[in-house]
Amino acid sequence: MLGRSLREVSAALKQGQITPTELCQKCLSLIKKTKFLNAYITVSEEVALKQAEESEKRYKTGQSLGDLDGIPIAVKDNFSTSGIETTCASNMLKGYIPPYNATVVQKLLDQGALLMGKTNLDEFAMGSGSTDGVFGPVKNPWSYSKQYREKRKQNPHSENEDSDWLITGGSSGGSAAAVSAFTCYAALGSDTGGSTRNPAAHCGLVGFKPSYGLVSRHGLIPLVNSMDVPGILTRCVDDAAIVLGALAGPDPRDSTTVHEPINKPFMLPSLADVSKLCIGIPKEYLVPELSSEVQSLWSKAADLFESEGAKVIEVSLPHTSYSIVCYHVLCTSEVASNMARFDGLQYGHRCDIDVSTEAMYAATRREGFNDVVRGRILSGNFFLLKENYENYFVKAQKVRRLIANDFVNAFNSGVDVLLTPTTLSEAVPYLEFIKEDNRTRSAQDDIFTQAVNMAGLPAVSIPVALSNQGLPIGLQFIGRAFCDQQLLTVAKWFEKQVQFPVIQLQELMDDCSAVLENEKLASVSLKQ
């Protein structure tokens, strides 16, 4: 049951094959078994069981709320959840229990979904590995998959296998690991520069970033307000569409959501034929750092569309190479501003120093934020200084406009969706990953995903195949603004063609003791 898709398990609930409480308990037990993945910061067991009980009552009286009723979901720990600690994986918010639900959380709960817990991330979502949070790094479930382990056995050079675990990507790595390890059927991530799509690609999931303005940000603790969107992580495209159907729509609490009526629910037709489609391949995305495996899969995917009758053309997004540096200025500037509220006065961490208000601010913020956050605050404030504003912030805004226009031009030339890689390569081992600092990693890893956020477009990463090492590789589709449904329809067709293999975590699921052993080893290796 746990291996099924959301749609399938929803059908099973409706048919009475399983009750919400049973489903919830199964997921909770798996969460415990996979605790060593560090996917969850908070497991809201009591809340979930109570919600399951209520859902069960509804099913019994035939008053089910719909596809999501009784479905276990997880939420990234940067969404405000009423009565449930919300930390952003930061000392600054440890112990902070919000009094309200983010709109997207509320919408899921209103549809009867069961909230299993809050998932791990990089502190304040600043990172691309889910390695830089105060609760420690998230481990990629694929590290423990049969597919990966078998390949590794063939490799005589592999060292201690438990210290060689892989990162999930990030920053929504906890959400990705949670869905990938079958502890829930869908999870909310957030996506500012690729934070949902990147871990989805590394964890073999569908990672969907909706159009900016389609889904409310109210209650999403911001990284970059003008780029943040709630993201959706699921095991298949149809599941993402179900969740999107529950989330999309204007929110009076978020003035940047659009008013246009939305075609709901997001039912995705099964495309029989792609001959009317035009797929654009942005030539600037063929970068030297791209691994040959990803490049080859990308090109195979293009061939697949072409062979099925679609028009595949090369397009140019000429300002792509400026995207990372432009993002750096805009992101850090907004970060500097958004983080100003964390002063220890109203909520969150407060230091013991009380010599003066200023000294208290300084110590609180030094203790509360990690180096990455402090570094971004510092550079952001530099860019916003009166003497620098024109040279940095204003210029970056202009470049952002150029980048957004690149996409507009591509779509105006007749392209329906763009096809690109999601990441440069498959997931790397943690020990490998931390050889570079957060900033370098983010710059490398966001390269294909982050321009989309500048333009506010919808994009989805679809798992395509396993690499030679037995690890998932994803490709990204980018759609026109507010053509989310069209984008997902194309993605669904593609998903059906590629038949991505299911992660084989049999040992994890069946053999509890093996897992526990792993956990010990893993925690030992961490402390070294």
Binding site: R217, I221, V258, T357, E358, L385, K386, G456
Partner: protein, 588 residues
């Protein structure tokens, strides 16, 4: 991507109570009642001599009455000149330049970007929404009412209303600014390039009103901050966020003023306009209207001097005092070879002086940034209104223009035309809170001439109020009572001196009507001609010497006789009538 602006409904969106900080109910600094300035005509004594020895306004050429003609002219040319007290002949004269930044709290049910209520003197931290406390993840939602108030105010102040305006974040760390930034309109405010016309007194008796114009640079919408209460004894600061996020209109007045009186009068006029519009209660004592003044002095024809900013001006009277003090301080400083620092100064009302605040080490950089959570604020007019637009989601400038209430200048004009009163009387009627309404109610109920009513209201009634330092609303005399009294006077039932007596009785609040007082005290005029003639006869007989004097053409003698007769009637006879009888009897 084009976004329509969502406007927050007036309903509260779950206001919460955060009571981390316990603090007294009110900021001690704002409970003080601020005495009102009476349109700048009071005989204040200036700390510095005036060039022409008279009003500091005489020199400034009266500006065109209602146009914006003044804009673009050199403001320097219009500055009255000041001299330092000790200036000897032949030395340079000084001119002062005063500009104002005025923050008016918008009168609205809920805050600028949140649904929590706006109320003065509510228990601390009882009007705080999640957004006001800057809980992570909360977003601003613009309050439609605040936008309408800004548009109304802009239109009333002859501003150009920007069809598109933007919101910015202004960053600084302060305990009562929970987000670490204030949302304001730095780059593109909602209204620009307006003007405010106010009247200052001139003439020998300060009885002439001369219209003056001050240009309005801009009006911007912004958030108010919370309040910090510093407890120095326990060395702690208590924060009250009730005010945090309340909508403010920042009105920036160009440095077209030249003394405290001008600034005070301009602020009073703005206050009246805001109150007439209902866009702000503009009560300075409650902090709904806060004024910062930028002041510099220079020699006419030379570049402007270094300016200081004076804050903490919480009454119009202190505003005038502080500005005049600061002008004089700068002149003295410069005359003594000193230097003016570009600094912020605070006015101490008890000491009557300004003092450097020295609170900002170095220059503050506010690191302005566009507010990313609010799309541009787009306003429409009749021509640009999109067809089929949801009226709840759009604001139509033309529609607001049509519904603007009568402004004080029009009210005054009407008073002058309708009742034939002097312009300065109309100023007094409007400047005194509630006086105009009182006046109009008396007019409605009495048969007496408007001029009579004006005179009684402005002299007798207002005189009594002032003497006892009462507001119109605290008056013991109701409009109906005064109207009845004036009717008695008008019908010659009582004499004017009896009327004064009745008024004094009314003031004692004994609940008697003027009619009752008149009959109890037997104040009616003697209407019986025969009896009066008889009385005159007896008086004449009793005072032959006075009668002789009259006959000998002593002009004062007749008055003495009249007085004697009045005395005999216990002042109940009309002196005019007595005079007629006496003259007849004496065959004058």
């Amino acid at each position: 991507m084009a976004f329509l602006m969502h406007f927050q409904n007036y309903a509260s969106q779950g206001a919460s109570r955060h009571s981390e900080a316990e603090s007294p109910d009110q900021d001690p600094g704002v409970t003080m009642a601020a005495p009102m300035l009476r349109w700048g005509c009071r005989g204040r004594r200036w700390a510095f001599a005036r060039v022409d020895g008279g009003s500091c306004h005489r020199r400034g050429a009266p500006t065109g009455s209602t146009s914006n003609r003044i804009r673009g002219e050199s403001s320097v040319a219009q500055q009255p000149l000041h001299t330092a007290q000790k200036t000897r002949k032949g030395e340079h004269k000084w001119a002062a330049v005063v500009g104002l930044e005025i923050h008016a709290q918008i009168s609205s049910n809920s805050k600028l970007f949140s649904g929590s209520q706006v109320r003065f003197s509510a228990p601390p931290n009882s009007l705080v929404s999640f957004f006001d406390a800057s809980l992570p993840g909360t977003l601003p939602v613009l309050n439609r009412r605040c936008v309408e108030a800004a548009v109304m105010t802009g239109l009333a102040l002859n501003c150009h209303i920007n069809k598109k305006s933007l919101f910015d974040r202004k960053h600084y760390f302060y305990a009562d600014l929970p987000a670490g930034y204030q949302i304001t309109q730095q780059r593109l405010p909602i209204a620009v390039n307006g003007s405010l016309i106010y009247g200052v007194c001139a003439g020998k008796k300060q009885s002439q009103v001369i219209p003056k114009t001050v240009r309005i640079k801009q009006i911007q919408l912004e958030q108010d901050s919370g309040k910090s209460l510093h407890d120095n004894l326990r060395s702690q600061t208590l924060i009250d966020l009730n005010r945090a996020g309340v909508g403010l209109l920042e009105v920036v007045l160009e440095p077209d003023m030249s003394c405290g009186e001008e600034a005070a009068t301009a602020v009073r006029e703005l206050q009246l306009i805001l109150q007439a519009l209902g866009t702000s209660q503009a009560n300075m004592a409650e902090g709904q209207l806060r004024v910062d003044a930028n002041i510099s002095v220079h020699h006419p024809g030379e570049p402007l001097g270094v300016r200081t900013e004076v804050k903490n001006l919480n009454s119009i009277r202190f505003l005038a005092k502080a500005i005049d003090y600061e002008i004089q301080r700068q002149i003295n400083e410069l005359e003594n070879g000193g230097e003016i620092l570009n600094e912020t100064r605070s006015f101490h009302h008890k000491l009557g002086c300004t003092m450097s605040m020295r609170d900002k080490e170095g220059k503050q950089d506010y690191r302005f940034m566009p507010e990313p959570n609010l799309p541009p604020l787009v306003l429409y007019d009749a021509t640009s209104l999109p067809a089929g637009a949801d009226p709840q989601q759009v604001i139509n400038i033309d529609q607001i223009r049509e519904t603007l209430p009568e402004l004080p200048s029009v009210t005054r004009e009407k008073l002058v035309q309708q009742y034939g009163m002097l312009l300065e009387h109309s100023f007094t009627l409007l400047n005194e809170v509630g006086l105009l309404e009182f006046f109009q109610n008396v007019i409605k109920e009495t048969r007496a001439e408007p001029k009579k009513v004006t005179s009684w209201v402005l002299n007798t009634f207002l005189g009594y109020l002032k003497q006892q330092n009462l507001a119109v609303s605290e008056s013991p005399v109701t409009p109906s009572a005064l109207a009845e009294l004036l009717d008695l006077l008008d019908s010659r039932t009582i004499s004017s001196s009896a009327a004064k007596q009745v008024f004094e009785e009314l003031w004692k609040r004994e609940g008697k009507t003027p009619g009752q007082i008149v009959s109890e005290k037997q104040l009616e005029l003697m209407q019986d001609q025969g009896a009066l003639e008889q009385l005159c006869h007896s008086v004449m007989e009793a005072h032959p010497q006075v009668v002789m004097d009259v006959k000998n053409r002593n002009p004062r003698a007749i008055n003495k006789l009249i007085g004697l007769v009045r005395k005999a009637t216990q002042s109940r006879a009309d002196p005019v009538m007595i005079k007629e009888i006496l003259e007849k009897k004496l065959s004058l």
